[in-house]
C-alpha cells in the first residue's frame, strides 16, 4: 500500500522536475538568442563607429553564448532530437562568428565599401536568420514537451488524493481483518489451553489410578523430564530430585541394574525402547515390578524426543503368580484325582479277577469236597465279587470319561447308535426290546463318549423295564432354538441338537429328576436292580464335556424320558 503511494508521489515529483527542466531549456535557448543579438549589435556598433567599446559587448556576448551553449548541452543530454538541433545550431553559430571575424578584418583595412564586405554582411544576416529559426524550432519543440508534461503533471496531481484515499481504506480494512483474526486465534488458544489443562490433569489422575508414569528424553540436549507420578511410583515426592538416568538407576533392583543399563544403552543407540521389565526398590525397602516402553517423537523443528511410559505392574504380576499357582494346584489335584480313580479301578481289577478265577476253580474242582455251608459261603463270595467287579468297571468307565483332551470329530450318529445297539444286543434279544429311532444328523462330538452315552441311556431303559412288558425305546431328534427351551439356564449357543430317549419302563418320581445324575446315587435296592449309580453320572459328564445339557423326566410306572441337548455348531 505504502509502496503504491510512494511510487505515485515519485512520479508526481518527477513530472514536476520535467516541467521545471523544460522551462530551464527554454530560458537557456532564449538567452543564447539574446547573447547572439548582443554580439551582433556590438559588431554592428563597431563597424559603424569604430569605437572599440562596442567590441567589448561583442566579445562578452560571444563569451556568454558559449557558456549558455554548454549549459544547454548539459540540460538536453537526454533528448536526442534537441541534441541534434543543438549540433546544427553550433555549426550555424560558428559560421556566424566566422562571418563576424571576416567583417572585422575588412573593417580594420577600412575596406567597408567593397563588394566582398557587403556579401559578408548579407551572409551573416542569413546565418543569423537561420539561427533564429533553429532556436525558435527548438523553443517550439520544447513548448510542446512542456505542454505534454504539464498535462501529465496535472493528471498526476488530480489522481493523487484518490489513490491515497483508497490506500488508506484498504489499509483500514486489512487492519480490521487482522484484528478479528487475532482475536479469534486468541480465543482458540484459550480453549486449547483449557483443554490441555484438563488433559494434563486427567493424565495426572490416570497416571495415579493406573499406576504409571511418563518421562521424556530430549535426545538433542540429552535431558530428561519425569512426570509427577513417576516420582510417586519410586516412592518419592514429585520432582524431588533431578531427573537423570543415574538418579533413576539408584532405585533399580541390584539384580536388574545390568539388564536395565544394557537396555538404556541400546535405547541411547537406537533411540527406541521396546517393552522392558525390571524391578525397583523404594527407600522403604518395598520391591515393585516395573514395565517400560518408549517411542521417538520428532517435532516441527526436527527436535527428537523419546516419550516413555513406565508402569507399576506389581499387582498384575502378583495376581498372575497367584493364578498360576492356583491353576497348578488345581491341575495337580485333578491329575491326582483322575489317576487315583484310574489306578484304583484299574489295579483293583487284577486281584479281583484272580479272586473270581480262583472261585471258579474252586467251584469246578472242589465243590464236592466242601460242606453245604461251605458251598453257600462260596456262593456269597461269588456274588460279592461280581458286584465289586460291576462297581469297578463302572468307576473305570467314569474315570475314562474324565479325559478332556479328547478330540471332537464329525461323527455319523446313526453308526454310533447301531454300535450301541450291538453292544447291548444280548439284553435286547433277551428282553425282546424294540428300539426305534429318527435319523440323527452328523454331529461334531467325541465318538467313543457319545457311544458310551447311548449305551448307558439305552442300557438304563433296558435295566429299569417292567418285568412283564417288553421294553419299547423311542429315540427322537430335533433341532431346537435355545430361546424356546426354558430348562437351559446359561445359553452359550443359539441352537441345540435335542436327542430324546423315551421308554415304557418303571419310571421314577419327579423329585429325583436331578438326583439320579449324582455319582453313586441309586433309587432302588441293589437286590431289585443291579445298578451301581455310576451310569447316569457318566452320561452327565459326557454331556458336560460337550458343553451340553441332560434332563430326566420320570413318571412312576409309565416311563422315563431323557433329553440330551448338544450345542449346534
Amino acid at each position: 500500500m505504502g509502496g503504491l503511494a510512494y511510487k505515485h508521489l515519485q512520479t508526481l515529483i518527477k513530472s514536476f522536475d520535467l516541467v521545471e527542466h523544460t522551462y530551464e531549456v527554454n530560458i537557456e535557448l532564449e538567452q543564447i538568442l539574446s547573447y547572439l543579438k548582443d554580439s551582433e549589435t556590438g559588431q554592428r556598433g563597431y563597424l559603424i563607429s569604430k569605437d572599440t567599446r562596442f567590441l567589448e559587448s561583442f566579445f562578452s556576448g560571444r563569451e556568454k553564448t558559449n557558456n549558455s551553449f554548454a549549459r544547454l548541452k548539459e540540460l538536453t543530454k537526454k533528448d536526442e532530437r534537441q541534441q541534434q538541433k543543438l549540433r546544427d545550431l553550433t555549426v550555424l553559430i560558428d559560421k556566424n562568428l566566422n562571418y563576424f571575424d571576416e567583417t572585422f578584418k575588412y573593417s580594420k583595412n577600412d575596406n567597408l565599401d567593397s563588394k566582398e564586405f557587403d556579401a559578408l554582411l548579407l551572409a551573416g544576416k542569413k546565418t543569423m536568420d537561420n539561427i533564429r529559426l533553429e532556436i525558435n524550432q527548438m523553443i517550439n519543440h520544447n513548448n510542446n514537451l512542456l505542454r505534454i508534461r504539464k498535462l501529465d503533471n496535472e493528471r498526476s496531481i488530480t489522481n493523487t488524493p484518490i489513490i491515497i484515499y483508497s490506500v488508506l481504506i484498504i489499509a483500514l480494512l486489512l487492519l480490521l481483518f487482522t484484528y478479528s483474526k487475532i482475536n479469534n486465534d486468541i480465543k482458540n488458544l484459550q480453549t486449547k489451553n483449557l483443554q490441555l489443562e484438563i488433559f494434563k490433569e486427567s493424565t495426572n489422575q490416570s497416571e495415579i489410578v493406573s499406576k504409571h508414569g511418563t518421562w521424556n528424553w530430549f535426545i538433542e540436549e540429552n535431558k530428561f523430564s519425569y512426570s509427577d507420578n513417576l516420582y510417586r511410583l519410586l516412592g518419592e515426592q514429585p520432582q524431588s530430585f533431578e531427573p537423570t538416568i543415574e538418579n533413576f538407576m539408584q532405585f533399580v533392583h541390584p539384580e536388574d541394574v545390568d539388564k536395565l543399563k544394557k537396555q538404556v544403552e541400546k535405547m541411547m543407540e537406537k533411540q527406541d525402547l521396546p517393552f522392558i521389565y525390571y524391578r525397583i526398590v523404594q527407600k522403604n525397602g518395598s520391591i515393585r515390578h516395573f514395565k517400560a516402553y518408549g517411542k521417538v517423537l520428532t517435532d516441527n523443528e526436527e527436535n527428537r524426543r523419546l516419550i516413555g511410559t513406565t508402569a507399576d505392574i506389581t499387582d498384575e504380576i502378583e495376581n498372575y503368580r497367584l493364578l498360576e499357582e492356583r491353576n497348578l494346584e488345581l491341575e495337580r489335584n485333578n491329575k491326582e484325582l483322575s489317576s487315583f480313580n484310574h489306578v484304583a479301578s484299574h489295579d483293583l481289577q487284577e486281584p479281583l479277577r484272580k479272586i473270581q478265577t480262583f472261585i471258579s476253580r474252586l467251584e469246578d474242582k472242589e465243590s464236592e469236597n466242601l460242606s453245604e455251608r461251605g458251598n453257600l459261603y462260596l456262593e456269597r463270595i461269588k456274588t460279592s465279587s461280581t458286584r465289586m467287579r460291576l462297581l469297578i468297571d463302572d468307576l473305570l468307565q467314569f474315570s475314562r470319561t474324565n479325559k478332556s483332551e479328547e478330540i471332537l470329530e464329525e461323527t455319523n450318529m446313526n453308526i454310533i447308535l447301531e454300535n450301541a445297539k450291538q453292544e447291548l444286543a444280548e439284553t435286547i434279544l433277551e428282553k425282546n426290546a424294540i428300539i426305534t429311532s429318527d435319523t440323527i444328523p452328523t454331529l461334531t462330538v467325541i465318538p467313543f463318549q457319545l457311544q458310551q452315552l447311548f449305551i448307558n441311556l439305552i442300557g438304563n431303559s433296558l435295566k429299569y423295564s417292567k418285568k412283564e412288558v417288553a421294553p419299547n425305546i423311542r429315540i427322537s431328534y430335533e433341532k431346537v432354538d435355545a430361546k424356546n427351551v426354558k430348562k437351559i439356564k446359561k445359553k452359550k449357543f443359539n441352537f441345540y441338537h435335542k436327542i430324546t430317549f423315551e421308554d415304557n419302563g418303571i419310571g421314577f418320581d419327579e423329585e429325583y429328576a436331578e438326583k439320579i445324575f449324582v455319582l453313586f446315587s441309586r433309587l432302588h435296592n441293589k437286590n431289585e436292580y443291579s445298578g451301581t449309580g455310576i451310569g447316569l453320572s457318566i452320561c452327565k459328564k459326557i454331556v458336560d464335556n460337550h458343553q451340553g445339557f441332560i434332563f430326566a423326566i420320570g413318571k412312576p410306572n409309565i416311563g422315563s424320558i431323557f433329553e440330551v441337548y448338544l450345542p449346534f455348531n
Partner: protein, 189 residues
C-alpha cells in the same frame, strides 16, 4: 500310489501247483480244490520234493484220508461262499453232501473231530471273511453286503460279525484304514 488286488485264490493255487508239477515232469491231472491225480507212478522222493517246494508257499501235500476230506469240505465251503453266487441260497448241508458224495452227518462229525469246530461255524467264518473283503475292497455298503450274502437283515450280519470277530463292521473298517495309513503314510502332494 497304492492299489488293491482281489485274489482268485483257487486260480492262483492251481497255477502254482501246475508249475511245481511241471518241474517234476510227472504226468498228472488237476481235479480242482487242490486235488491232483497222477497218471503214472510217482516215487517217494518225487513226493517229498513236491512237498518241500510247496512248503515255501505255506502249502503241503496231505496224505491222511480224513484230512483230505476235511480239506475238501473247507474248499467246497470257501468256493460256495466266495464264488458260487447262484447256489448261495441252497442249504449248505445239501450242497456239501451233493458235492462231496457223503452224508452230511458223516462230514459234520469228521470235520469237528479234525478241526475242533463245526461246519456251521466254518461257514459263518467264511461268510464274515468274505464280508471283510467286501468292506475293504469295494464301495459296497453293509446293507448291500448283507443282501449279497443272503442275510435276512443288516442287523443279522452286523451281529454275526460282532459275535465272530468281537468288533463291529464299522470298527473293523476304521482299524484297517488306520493300519494302512500307518504302514503307507500318505505323501504330501
Amino acid at each position: 500310489m497304492k492299489i488293491f488286488i482281489k485274489f482268485d485264490f483257487t486260480a492262483v493255487c492251481n497255477k502254482l501247483i501246475e508249475e511245481k508239477l511241471s518241474e517234476l515232469g510227472v504226468k498228472h491231472k488237476v481235479l480242482g480244490f487242490g486235488e491232483i491225480e497222477f497218471l503214472e507212478k510217482i516215487t517217494e522222493d518225487q513226493l517229498s520234493q513236491l512237498n518241500n517246494s510247496l512248503k515255501e508257499y505255506g502249502s503241503e501235500v496231505i496224505e491222511n484220508q480224513k484230512s483230505i476230506l476235511v480239506q475238501k469240505i473247507k474248499d467246497t465251503i470257501t468256493d460256495m461262499v466266495f464264488n458260487d453266487d447262484e447256489n448261495i441260497n441252497v442249504k449248505s448241508s445239501v450242497y456239501l453232501s451233493e458235492k462231496l458224495d457223503h452224508s452230511y452227518g458223516y462230514l459234520s462229525n469228521l470235520f469237528s473231530e479234525v478241526t475242533y469246530t463245526s461246519i456251521e461255524n466254518f461257514i459263518i467264518l467264511q461268510k464274515i471273511e468274505y464280508t471283510k473283503q467286501l468292506i475293504i475292497n469295494t464301495d459296497l455298503k453293509i446293507t448291500d453286503i448283507a443282501y449279497k450274502l443272503n442275510y435276512s437283515s443288516v442287523a443279522h450280519l452286523s451281529t454275526q460279525f460282532k459275535n465272530t470277530t468281537g468288533i463291529t463292521p464299522s470298527a473293523f473298517q476304521r482299524i484297517i484304514t488306520k493300519r494302512r495309513e500307518l504302514n503307507n503314510p500318505k505323501k504330501q502332494e
